[in-house]
C-alpha cells in the first residue's frame, strides 16, 4: 500500500460547498404534510355535514384522527413501513405535547380575559375598607391582599427553605440509620391535605396558645406544606452533584462539613433555587389553610405577627363567591395578579440562579 499526499488546494479556487441538513423536513415534504392536513380537514367537514355528527370538540378529534390515518397511508405508500411507524409516533407524541399545553393555555387565556376588566391602577394601591358591596369594580383594590400574600409566602419560604435544604443535606450527604425513616416521613408529609395543615396550626397556635389569627400563623401552615416539596427536590438536586467533586474536596484535606458548604451546595445552587421555586409554587395558591389562620380582612395589616390578614387566594375566594358582578370581576382581577406575581417570582429566581457560575 502506498501513502499518497493530498495536495492542498488553493482556498480561493474552492467552490462553496452545498450545505445539507439531512434531518430537516424538505419544502416538498412540508407541502405534502400540509396537503394531507388539508384533505383531513375537508374530509371532516364533509362527514360532519353529511352525517348527524356535530360539535367543535368532536370535529377536532375526528380531523386529528383522519390526519394520522392519512399520513400513515401516504408515507407507507411512498416509503417503507418503518418510516410510516416513525411518522405515526412523531405525530402522536407532538400531538400529546400539544394537548398537554391546551389546559394551560385555556387557564391563562380565561383568567386574563376575565380579570383584565377588573384591573385598574387603584387595584394595587387601594383596599376594600370603604367599598360598599354594590360599588363598581373600579372602586377599591387588593393592596391588602397583595401585601398579605407576599408576607405569608415570604415568611413560609424563610421557614421551610432552610429546613428543607438541611433535611436534603442530611438525606443526601449524611446517610445513616435514620435516613429511610426521615425520607418516609417527608414523603408522608407531602401527602398532608392542606386543610389539615391549616387545622393543625389553628388548634395549636390560634386557639390553644391563644395567639389568634395572623399572617405568621398562615405562614406556619404553609411551611408545613412547603417543607416536603423543598426537601425532596433539593435531595434529588444534591444527588446530581458528581461524587468525584466530593472526593476531590476530601482528598485535599477538607472536613466533611466544609465539603458540603463549599463544594456540594454551591455546585447544586441552581437546582436548590429550583427546589425553592417548586416549594413556592406549591403554596402560593393555597386557600384552605389560610381560612383558619390568616382569616382574611378588607384592610391593610402590615404586621404579620398580629391580627387577621388577607391574601390573594383568600381575596379571590371571597370575591368570586359573591353574587354581585363587580365583586366577581374583582376576584378575577385578583387571580390574574396572583398568576403575575408567581410568574415574576419564578423569572427573578431563574435569573438569580443563572448568574453566578465561574465566568
Amino acid at each position: 500500500m502506498t501513502v499518497t499526499t493530498v495536495p492542498s488546494p488553493n482556498p480561493a479556487s474552492l467552490p462553496t460547498p452545498t450545505r445539507r441538513r439531512p434531518q430537516a423536513i424538505t419544502p416538498a415534504e412540508g407541502v405534502r404534510i400540509a396537503g394531507v392536513a388539508g384533505v383531513a380537514v375537508i374530509l371532516t367537514a364533509l362527514v360532519f355535514l353529511a352525517t348527524p355528527l356535530s360539535g367543535a370538540f368532536g370535529s377536532v378529534v375526528f380531523a386529528f384522527a383522519a390526519f394520522v390515518a392519512l399520513e400513515v397511508v401516504d408515507v407507507s405508500l411512498r416509503l417503507d413501513p418503518q418510516a410510516a411507524k416513525d411518522r405515526t409516533a412523531t405525530i402522536l407524541i407532538t400531538g400529546s405535547a400539544g394537548v398537554a399545553l391546551v389546559p394551560l393555555g385555556f387557564i391563562v387565556w380565561y383568567v386574563v380575559s376575565k380579570g383584565i376588566g377588573g384591573m385598574h391602577p387603584g387595584f394595587f394601591t387601594k383596599t376594600l375598607e370603604e367599598v360598599g358591596p354594590l360599588d363598581p369594580a373600579s372602586a377599591g383594590g387588593a393592596e391588602h391582599a397583595i401585601i398579605g400574600s407576599v408576607e405569608q409566602v415570604g415568611l413560609a419560604s424563610l421557614i421551610a427553605t432552610p429546613l428543607g435544604i438541611l433535611t436534603a443535606v442530611y438525606l443526601s450527604e449524611y446517610p445513616g440509620r435514620l435516613t429511610r425513616v426521615v425520607r418516609f416521613f417527608v414523603d408522608s408529609m407531602s401527602g398532608i391535605p392542606s386543610v389539615v395543615a391549616g387545622l393543625f396550626i389553628y388548634t395549636l397556635w390560634v386557639v390553644r396558645l391563644e395567639k389568634g389569627f395572623s399572617g405568621l400563623a398562615a405562614a406556619m401552615a404553609l411551611s408545613v406544606l412547603m417543607l416536603p416539596t423543598v426537601a425532596r427536590t433539593a435531595e434529588e438536586m444534591l444527588k446530581l452533584v458528581p461524587d468525584g467533586l466530593r472526593e476531590s474536596s476530601l482528598a485535599l484535606g477538607a472536613p466533611k462539613w466544609r465539603t458540603v458548604t463549599s463544594i456540594v451546595l454551591p455546585t447544586a445552587r441552581s437546582g436548590l433555587i429550583t427546589a425553592g421555586i417548586l416549594g413556592v409554587a406549591r403554596i402560593a395558591g393555597e386557600t384552605a389553610p389560610l381560612l383558619m389562620t390568616a382569616f382574611g380582612t378588607d384592610s391593610v395589616n402590615v404586621n404579620p405577627t398580629k391580627g387577621a390578614q388577607s391574601s390573594l387566594p383568600l381575596f379571590v375566594y371571597q370575591r368570586v363567591r359573591n353574587a354581585v358582578p363587580s365583586q366577581v370581576a374583582r376576584g378575577w382581577a385578583g387571580a390574574l395578579v396572583l398568576i403575575l406575581l408567581v410568574l415574576t417570582l419564578f423569572t427573578v429566581a431563574r435569573l438569580f440562579g443563572r448568574v453566578r457560575k465561574a465566568a
Binding site: 446517610p175 458528581p242 468525584g244 467533586l245 472526593e247 476531590s248 474536596s249 476530601l250 482528598a251 485535599l252 484535606g253 477538607a254 472536613p255 466544609r258 465539603t259 463549599s262 463544594i263 454551591p266 455546585t267 445552587r269 453566578r356 457560575k357 465561574a358 465566568a359
Partner: protein, 279 residues
C-alpha cells in the same frame, strides 16, 4: 537492591544514601488488606514507597490497585461497609493511628483522580487555591505566587496565565487534569497519589502529565496506578506488580526498581504480564 518476590522489601532495604532530599515523605504499607463488605479486595500488601521517588503500581483490572491507593490516604473508609487491616506509615507514623484525623492525613497525602474534576463553580485561580480554604490552611506567602508556582509545577502556567479568572471546566481534558495536579500541589502534600491520571487523555496530554510528574518528584513522593506499562517504564523509579482476580484478593507479586523489574523480572507471571501475554 535485589529483586524480590512478595513480600516486598521493608523500607530499611532502601539505601538512604540514594534518597533525594525534599519535602516528600516515605510511605510504607504493612500487611494491608481491604474489604468491600465481605468481599476481600487486597491481601497482605507490604510495600515501601521511598521518599521523592515515583512508584508505579501495575496489574490487570480488578486486582485492587485503586483500592490500595485509596487505603493509603484513608479514602477507602468512605465507602459504606468497607473495612481494612494493616498499617500505613507516613515517615514512620501510622495514618490509621489513634487520634489521627483522616482530613489531616489526606492533606499530607494528596490524590489525583482518573477523571479530571476541577470544581465547576470556581475559576482556574480559585481551583488552585481551593485546597487552602477547604483544609483551613493559612498561606504564609502571597496567593498570587502560590497560584503561579503550582500552575508552573503542573506545566500549565504559560497556557492559562492570561485567563486565571475563567472557569476551570472550560479547559481541555489534559489541561483540566494538570489543573487538578496544581490544585493538589497547593496544599503542599508530602505524597501525591495518582489513580490512572492519563487514562482519559490523549497521547500529547499524557506526555505533558508525565513530564510534570518528573518535574515535581523532587518535592513530593509519587505513587501512580497505571494500566499503561510503557508509562510505568517511562515515569517510575520503582514498580509494584499486583495480581488478583475474581476468586482471590490482590497481592503484590513483585516489587523493585523499574529498570530491573521490566528487564529481568523474577516471577514468571510478571514476565508474562509485562510482555502482554495476559491482562
Amino acid at each position: 537492591m535485589n529483586m524480590t518476590t512478595t513480600p516486598a522489601p521493608p523500607v530499611s532495604m532502601i539505601d538512604p544514601a540514594v534518597l533525594p532530599t525534599g519535602n516528600g515523605a516515605t510511605l510504607e504499607a504493612r500487611t494491608v488488606a481491604a474489604w468491600f463488605a465481605e468481599h476481600q479486595i487486597l491481601d497482605d500488601i507490604s510495600l515501601a514507597m521511598p521518599a521523592n521517588s515515583v512508584t508505579a503500581i501495575i496489574g490487570p483490572s480488578g486486582c485492587g490497585k485503586s483500592t490500595f491507593l485509596r487505603v493509603l490516604n484513608r479514602m477507602h473508609e468512605l465507602v459504606p461497609k468497607s473495612s481494612l487491616a494493616g498499617e500505613v506509615l507516613l515517615d514512620g507514623a501510622d495514618v490509621y493511628g489513634i487520634g489521627v484525623r483522616p482530613a489531616e492525613t489526606r492533606r499530607h497525602i494528596g490524590m489525583v483522580f482518573q477523571k479530571p474534576n476541577p470544581f465547576p463553580t470556581m475559576t482556574i485561580r480559585e481551583n488552585v487555591l481551593s485546597g487552602l480554604k477547604l483544609a483551613g490552611i493559612k498561606n504564609e506567602g502571597s496567593n498570587d505566587d502560590l497560584v503561579e508556582r503550582c500552575l508552573d509545577q503542573a506545566g500549565l502556567w504559560r497556557e492559562v496565565k492570561d485567563r486565571l479568572g475563567s472557569a476551570g471546566g472550560a479547559l481541555s481534558g489534559g489541561q483540566q487534569q494538570r489543573l487538578c495536579i496544581a490544585r493538589a500541589l497547593a496544599v503542599s502534600p508530602r505524597v501525591l497519589l495518582m489513580d490512572e491520571p492519563c487514562s482519559a487523555l490523549d497521547p500529547t496530554s499524557t506526555l505533558r502529565i508525565e513530564e510534570t510528574i518528573r518535574d515535581i518528584v523532587g518535592s513530593v513522593t509519587i505513587v501512580i496506578v497505571t494500566h499503561n506499562m510503557q508509562q510505568a517504564a517511562r515515569v517510575s523509579d520503582y514498580t509494584a506488580f499486583f495480581l488478583g482476580d475474581e476468586g482471590r484478593p490482590g497481592t503484590v507479586v513483585e516489587f523493585g526498581p523499574t529498570s530491573e523489574l521490566f528487564t529481568a523480572p523474577n516471577d514468571p507471571r510478571t514476565e508474562d504480564y509485562i510482555n502482554g501475554r495476559f491482562g
